[in-house]
């Protein structure tokens, strides 16, 4: 009984992680797929719009 409570207690702290996983997966996919392109666009925009 006590062991069951302990394992439940530990599980509860993993719930936020499971809930965050879909969002983290989308962010990771977007960062890998579109990250380099977005950074290139930002770099071009900075070079084009900023004067030293």
């Amino acid at each position: 009984m006590n062991t069951e409570h302990k394992s439940r207690g530990k599980k509860i702290w993993l719930q936020p992680l499971w809930l965050a996983l879909p969002f983290l997966a989308v962010i990771a996919f977007a960062a890998l797929r579109f990250g380099p392109t977005i950074l290139r666009v930002i770099s071009v925009l900075i070079k084009g719009a900023v004067v030293s």
């Binding site: 499971w18 809930l19 719009a49």
Partner: protein, 280 residues
Amino acid sequence: MKKCIAWFLAFLLTGSLILFGVCLVGRQVIAPAMGDEGAPVSESLIREEKELARERIAKLAELYGFDAEPVIAIVNDEVLQDLNSQASLWWSSVLRDGKAGKDLRWDTTELEKVLQADPAAQENPDEAEYYATAVAEEIHKSIVNMVLPMRQLVFSLGLEKAEKRIDLVNVVEFFLGMPWAALALSALFAGLIALADGQPIRRALGYIGSAMGAAALVLAVIAALYLCAGILPMIREASAGLTLQYQSLVKGSLLLTAGIVVVLAAGCVVCLLKSREKKA
């Protein structure tokens, strides 16, 4: 079934809390520039810009042969404060009207007088006035470019083109209201969770706490990714003046992000502990 609905609502609550965090940070960046007098300028920024102005004037002095110190004395805190206020109004005009604002200017009469009296100008007294005007214009351009390092013509053209596709002013106003809309949505989802699987109410705290923890985690990851993206080196390469302004802006945004993450994480811990109390 109840549990499934509650977890789905917790997922939506996580999304709305993430939206709230991201939009609140964005709002903090944009909102100060929306006032009639533009964003307030910090004293530390003025101090750092003064150092940068000193370096720029020293380089120009080397190039044109004038004495740098009297010129550096003219580009004082008051001048930089005024230029920064004008730059702030320029941004305000972009955000509020969707148009680039007026060009930045500061009165260079005193500067011209000092340059005219400089030994370099006095070497050829007939051309002293021309020399003073030309060099003052160069100094003016350099200082203005330091405070507002934007190609204003490119910006105007870009804004004109963008205006044909989107109503920038409405988009900005919509964005400013987004954090509160996301917060209201979060409250709604939390209430729905309590309705779906909130008997006893401590059960609902488990879902709400998990959503808060998940949102804190995702926001921390977004902030870390942003810091790793390497935007600062790009800006540093482009302009030293913009780097100072960007750093001061990012410092405030990161502090706010850290604050939101801490509040959400604390909420997560409290809610999960409360929900566990019943089980134990």
